[in-house]
């Protein structure tokens, strides 16, 4: 099958973007515990699939409905990826679906799924190699078509296919020229300071723990902290109150009902990103217009530039 045939099949299944790279290339780029060779040495092509978040979801008010909608995009993408893999198998190729968010805790943890549950860090790095986009200031994948408003799924296969090439230029405008994701981040998880004129690669990053406090508010990490807190109390009334708390109910709700949504609790950074053809439509939403009503305030101090967090702006 050609790349065009695979992309056409994927498009019919509702998958928006398909990028191809080789496992050999990724071996040199990824940490050992998440290298493709840990999964298979006999499926040489690595595909990254992306499905965009419908504009309506990005334009909606923040809250559980939006969080659940993000989970549904993940689910629909995973089902479509499976159909694509069965389609490849019908043509006599081998293919296996790689989860976007599920983890082998011996190799990585839930912080690799920050920010916003777009997909694991290794899948985002693979997407860059496969030419789907570039990494933004906050380590999210930005695509030309939808900016960071995509969720990802992976696939390994023995298709005989030439890899796509990474994009040459950064899509992210960086801190000096944009910085909207950093300004709006409620956890202050995204860099707000850099050297003036520095290339993005020098300062982009993410404080995964700070991000997870918002994007995984009742996720796996919080569940451990919550259960631990039962044993840190001496007073039985306090312990009982902790057990009976909303926190316990919400943990169960995120674990059993929200599912992938347990990783998509905050999507502020992806909805303010100006990259992508969908941005203009999203900005017609009154909710989005309230995200950063006065834009981003930056200060230059000597060699450095820094931007204010929206809370600082409000105060």
């Amino acid at each position: 099958m050609t790349k065009e045939e695979v992309r056409s099949l994927a498009k019919n299944l509702g998958i928006d973007l398909v990028g191809f790279t080789t496992c050999e290339r990724l071996e040199q780029k990824l940490p050992e515990s998440v290298r493709p060779s840990q999964i298979s040495e006999y499926l040489p092509v690595f595909m990254v699939l992306a499905k965009h978040i419908p504009v309506g979801i990005s334009a909606a008010a923040d809250g559980s409905a939006k969080q659940m909608a993000a989970a549904l995009v993940h689910r629909v993408l995973e089902e479509a990826a499976a159909e694509l893999a069965y389609g490849l198998e019908e043509k006599d190729y081998l293919a296996v679906v790689l989860s976007s968010l599920m983890m082998d805790f011996k190799g990585r943890d839930e912080l690799s799924n920050t920010p916003a549950g777009q997909g694991s860090l290794y899948l985002r790095l693979a997407a860059v190699e496969a030419g789907l986009g570039t990494m933004g200031l906050n380590n999210m994948l930005l695509t030309r078509e939808f900016g960071p408003r995509v969720y990802l799924c992976g696939m390994m296969t023995n298709l005989e296919i030439e890899p796509d090439e990474p994009l040459q230029n950064e899509l992210c405008l960086g801190l000096e020229d944009c910085g909207r994701c950093a300004a709006v981040c409620p956890g202050d998880a995204i860099p707000r300071q850099s050297r003036r004129g520095a290339p993005l690669a020098e300062y982009r990053g993410l404080d995964g723990r700070a991000c997870a406090a918002y994007s995984q508010p009742h996720g796996v990490g919080h569940s451990v902290d919550h259960f631990r807190s039962f044993f840190q109390q001496k007073d039985s009334t306090t312990i009982k109150a902790k057990i009976d708390s909303d926190d316990t109910s919400l943990l169960w709700y995120h674990m059993a009902i929200m599912r992938q949504g347990a990783f998509t609790g905050c999507s502020k950074c992806l909805q303010v990103c100006p990259v992508g053809n969908d941005y203009e439509s999203i900005q017609t939403s009154p909710h989005r217009q309230r995200d950063l009503p006065v834009g981003v305030r930056s200060q230059i101090s000597g060699e450095n530039v820094s931007i204010s967090n929206y809370r600082e702006q409000q105060s």
Partner: protein
């Protein structure tokens, strides 16, 4: 084209690999317990049974969580097809009830059980035959399938049971000699038929295949509460087990389908086994000629091998949690 033929064509077009029908009355008469159609719904005339295979590419990996994900992806497909078949029947004026493939009822037997035991529905409807390890084996994909059943009040044409059993039993025994928990029979009377000795120690199987499922949770809670002196609660809570437990509820990963050893090595499967056995990981599972047997006057016994050395850690990964629960040494 008959209604049954139309239904089969639709099921295949939606992703079912093979499909059969058994009359509800005929099946009901054979079931010795409450896992029979009338327990769930009166008036059903036919049981439609179909299978969908797990992606063959899954077996070209050595990563069990990736394989688990792909088994759940397959099961999601089975559930979708079940629903679509029920809707197809309803549009034609019949009732269709998708039977849950993984949900358990606590009142049917002494242990949790499905409302129907799908492997026997599959055998009775001619979709395959039940093998030594009580997996359904199918001609095209051996045991590497997941099963769906839809009950209907439509009187569909029954499909015949398969005349030949697909499992060679003790003449093969590859599933038994590799099973990491020794849940599959390793011995049988000489010249006995597969139907006389096929079996599964479900509790042993569950300790591998449902590693973070309900049974291990109950055992761990029991240890946590009754071990004396009690284990350090901080060490218990801090263990990766709880993260995996969270994930098993969140995604089923580890709760079901956490061991595929018997799938890897089973030779039936006209459409997949030749591809599978060409994969080096799978060739190493049981190298050719390495299944040993001892013959006694009245018995044949397989020589147990277990899983390859490099895979043992997969099944021993919870050992340190057991030590924590027993108040054992610090990791």
């Amino acid at each position: 084209m008959t209604l049954t033929e139309e239904l089969f064509e639709f099921a295949r077009s939606r992703g079912a690999d093979s499909i059969g029908v058994v009359s509800a009355e005929a099946y009901e008469a054979k079931v010795p317990n409450l896992q029979k159609p009338s327990t769930s719904a009166m008036g059903m005339k036919s049981l439609i049974c179909f299978v969908k295979h797990m992606l063959t590419g899954s077996f070209a990996t050595r990563d069990v969580p990736v394989q688990s994900l792909n088994s759940h992806v397959c099961m999601d497909g089975v559930e979708r097809i079940s629903m679509e078949l029920a809707e197809w029947l309803e549009k034609r004026g019949y009732l269709g009830i998708p039977v849950p493939p993984e949900a358990a009822d606590m009142n049917l037997q002494r242990s949790p059980a499905g409302t129907l035991d799908f492997k026997w529905v599959a055998e009775e409807s001619g979709v395959g035959t039940v093998g030594l390890e009580l997996n359904l084996l199918t001609p095209d994909y051996g045991p590497r399938v997941y099963i769906g059943v839809v009950m209907t009040d439509a009187a569909l044409d029954s499909t015949p049971k398969m005349e030949q059993h697909l499992c060679p039993g003790m003449k093969c025994g590859r599933c038994a000699v590799i099973c990491p928990t020794q849940a599959i029979p390793l011995r049988a009377p000489r010249d006995a038929h597969i139907t006389e000795y096929r079996n599964l120690d479900k509790r042993a199987c569950a300790s591998g295949a449902e590693r973070i499922g309900i049974k291990p949770l109950l055992l761990n809670l029991r240890k946590l509460i009754f071990t004396s002196p009690p284990p350090d609660p901080q060490r218990v809570v801090d263990h990766v087990y709880w993260k995996e437990f969270w994930q098993s509820i969140n995604s089923k990963l580890g709760a079901f389908a956490a061991c595929f050893e018997c799938f890897y090595v089973c030779p039936p499967g006209a459409k997949d086994f030749k591809k599978i056995i060409r994969i080096p990981y799978r060739r190493m599972d049981i190298p050719p000629g390495k299944v040993g047997r001892r013959h006694f006057d009245d018995m044949v016994e397989m020589v147990y091998r277990g899983v390859p050395e490099e895979r043992k850690a997969v099944y021993e990964r919870d050992q340190d949690f057991g030590e924590v629960l027993q108040g054992g040494k610090n990791p």
